[in-house]
């Protein structure tokens, strides 16, 4: 079973600073790491490979230093890693990113079939969660998002059954293969990599492709040009004033009345349009 994992190198948002003037992330203030969700995706791919055989291939788009994130995947147990890196990809939103990755996936598929695509739930620097489903749409395969467990895989029957996290619990759904999963952290524990993997990763040099290495690329769909998303304004979320406790000596009716009057008092909050308050 050949498994492709799409990964991203991100700034460690646990320690990143926000530029107080522009409200953009100061990427120099935090080290670049493998997106944590993607680490779980690679771990799951390696786990499935151990059961079903085949290989785990990692793909990423990013600047040359994103090779480090790919090497991290090799530590976890990935067999191969590809990076598409080119100035012409720069400035891509999720639409252009999924297009570029899809073009690379097509090239990979020229050599070998892909039975399953894994992605992290989202990248911690953008939190959109759109690239995974975007790739699935372009590949015309089903996207199964927020997966917390792979229940069953049958490569021969081309079937997979997974557990998805939903708002008030989980659901178990079945899909045909190939399909694309985006995974939550609950799906597994990323194991402490064995020493032979560490040695292999230390020497591994990911394969880098530029736009020119990909076939039939519509340049208009790449990078900034191919990105319809416009960031209008950015602002830090307002600090909340904290909760107001309504006890009224435990009188439920009084409490309810108070809540209603408060809601009515602040009704403009509920009517305001996004980003306009």
């Amino acid at each position: 079973m050949n498994i492709l994992v799409c990964i991203k190198q991100v700034p460690d948002t646990k320690i990143i600073k926000v530029n107080p003037k522009t409200n953009t992330l100061d990427r120099s203030s935090a080290p670049a790491i493998l997106n944590p969700y993607d680490a779980h995706a690679v771990e799951e791919a390696v786990r499935l490979k151990k059961i079903h055989g085949g290989k785990v291939v990692v793909l990423s788009m990013g600047p040359p230093q994103a090779k480090e994130a790919i090497k991290k995947c090799v530590e976890i147990g990935a067999d191969e890693g590809y990076l598409i890196s080119d100035r012409r990809f720069a400035g891509a939103d999720t639409l252009a990113t999924s297009y570029a990755l899809y073009k690379a996936i097509q090239k990979l598929m020229d050599e070998d079939g892909i039975d399953l695509v894994l992605c992290g739930k989202h990248a911690i620097d953008g939190d959109t969660g759109q690239v995974g489903p975007g790739i699935a749409r372009r590949m015309e395969i089903p996207p199964l998002t927020n997966v917390i467990k792979v229940e069953e895989v049958d490569p021969a029957e081309k079937m997979i059954k997974v557990r998805r996290k939903i708002e008030n619990g989980y659901e178990i759904i079945q899909s045909t293969l190939p399909c694309l999963l985006t995974v939550e952290k609950e799906i597994n524990e990323v194991a402490y990599s064995p020493l032979p993997n560490m040695l292999r990763a230390a020497r591994y040099n990911p394969i880098v492709w530029t736009v020119d290495d990909l076939k039939d690329v519509d340049m208009k769909q790449l990078g900034l040009k191919g990105s319809p998303t416009i960031v209008g304004k950015m602002w830090p979320p307002a600090k909340s004033d904290g909760a107001q406790m309504l006890d009224d000596e435990g009188d439920v009716k009084k409490q309810a009345e108070k809540i209603v009057s408060l809601v009515l008092e602040k009704r403009e909050l509920f009517e305001a349009k996004g980003g306009e308050r």
């Binding site: 402490y192 990599s193 064995p194 020493l195 032979p196 560490m198 040695l199 990763a201 230390a202 020497r203």
Partner: protein, 431 residues
């Protein structure tokens, strides 16, 4: 199946990386193992990098290494409660090639240096702890790491695992260091605008200052404090021997806070935002504490070998030289394919013949002397301050009378004979 390398180096600090770099450059297959997230992540020093020993490994490294500022002025402060006696040397020639030394931030510098070793062909793995040497028939043949399938083999293992060197200890090369053989240094990196630093320290762009502070900074205990200028931050720290700290019941963080609040220090660091807080043990046992350096298939380098000259606050340079000497020894051993203690012993004799052995020997009694006789730090620094105060306060007293008064106060505490003894003892300790 476990791999075998020519050399495994444990620890990617100045000693380990110098060794790995030199081995790889000479065509050996080297594995460099670092426990931190990356080389430099866990490494601590005051912040002075010496040009000479680094240059012997990478010529003209200053053209590409991530350095902070070349030091063009060295200041020495003898600090009392509300005064200080200072002396300094400032030389603009130190600001030009080939420079004298530099301030560095270890997290940046060590990472760069290790990358240079990788470029020479060394294999570097991070986040991996070596738990012990694998010994067979009394010969070290590899290391065991904390990772699954974690054994890996080599002809020679170089221990550059720092001050505590649990690996050398496990081999029985040394015992647990005694409290007077290690110093505890705590330091902070304080962020300040470049312009503010230039103004406060009276230097131009890309000119650095190092200040070594004696006396009140350590409350009279054996030790020093320091204040160094980076590009847009300062390194400030204080260290004393563990025994001194225990004797005086001092807490290291409190000592650092008091230093930062000292009226002579505060104006220099005011407004600095603490971006890093670091603490580390420094091996200061000197010549007499040097452990067994060589065994069958194993060599000990750097802090692990107690190669620190506390009097001159030199350590990283000794670490680098020892790493290089270890590498050269291994390259020769490889030629004859003999990694026994007898062959590797060239390392030990070379070390003792080098500036490392000679300098440590010169000061072999210094730390002990100053530790046993606290008057040097406790009494003479305040006395110096009082003497200067007496001499330079204009109060109508004749200078000659002042001199007499100063001499009297100098000898009042310890008597003429006592002072003479102290001077002789100090001279003997450092001659």
């Amino acid at each position: 199946m476990s791999e075998k390398f020519d050399v495994i180096v444990v620890g990617a600090g100045p000693a380990g990386t110098s060794c790995a770099y030199t081995c790889a450059k000479n065509g050996l297959n080297v594995l460099l193992i670092e426990r931190g997230e990356f080389p430099g992540a866990k490494n601590v020093m005051g912040g002075i990098l010496y040009r000479k020993q680094m240059e012997e490994i990478i010529p003209e490294f200053w053209k590409e290494a991530p350095l902070e500022r070349p030091v063009i002025e060295q200041r020495f402060w003898f600090l009392d409660k509300e005064s200080m006696v200072t002396t300094s040397y400032k030389g603009l020639e130190w600001g030009k090639e080939p420079y004298n030394n530099f301030t560095v931030l270890r997290a940046k510098f060590d990472k760069w240096f290790a990358q240079k070793a990788v470029e020479q062909g060394a294999t570097l793995i991070n986040e991996t702890v070596v738990t012990e040497c694998i010994v067979e028939d009394g010969k070290v043949i590899g290391v065991r790491t904390d990772r699954p399938d974690g054994d890996v083999y080599a002809d020679v293992v170089v221990l550059a695992d720092g001050v505590n060197s649990l690996l050398a200890k496990k081999l029985g090369f040394h015992k647990e260091w005694k409290p007077d053989q290690v110093a505890l240094t705590v330091m902070e990196v304080l962020k300040l605008p470049k312009k503010t630093i230039n103004e406060r320290f009276n230097v131009g762009e890309n000119q650095g200052v190092s200040i070594e502070i004696f006396g009140d900074a350590t409350k009279g205990a054996l030790g020093t404090a320091f204040l160094y200028t980076n590009q847009d931050s300062l390194n400030i720290g204080v260290g004393t021997t563990l025994s001194g700290m225990i004797k005086k019941k001092m807490k290291p963080h409190k000592l650092l806070n008091e230093l930062k609040e000292h009226p002579m220090v505060k104006p220099y660091i005011e407004g600095g935002e603490t971006v890093e807080y670091l603490a580390h043990l420094i091996p200061e046992g000197g010549y007499k504490a040097i452990p067994k350096l060589v065994g069958d298939g194993v060599i000990v380098t750097g802090d692990a070998a107690q190669f620190v000259n506390a009097i001159h606050r030199e350590g990283s340079n000794m670490a680098m030289s020892s790493g290089k000497i270890a590498a050269e020894t291994i390259v020769r051993a490889k030629e004859v394919n003999d990694f026994s203690e007898r062959t590797l012993d060239v390392y030990r004799t070379t070390i003792y013949d080098s500036f490392i052995g000679k300098d440590l020997k010169k000061y072999k009694d210094a730390a002990h002397t100053f530790e046993e006789h606290p008057q040097y730090f406790e009494q003479y620094v305040p006395l110096m301050n009082q003497a200067m105060n007496t001499f330079f306060t204009v109060d109508g007293t004749a200078k000659w009378d002042k001199q007499k008064k100063i001499m009297k106060s100098l000898t009042a505490g310890r008597g003429k004979l006592g002072v003479a003894k102290d001077l002789y003892r100090a001279w003997k300790a450092v001659k």
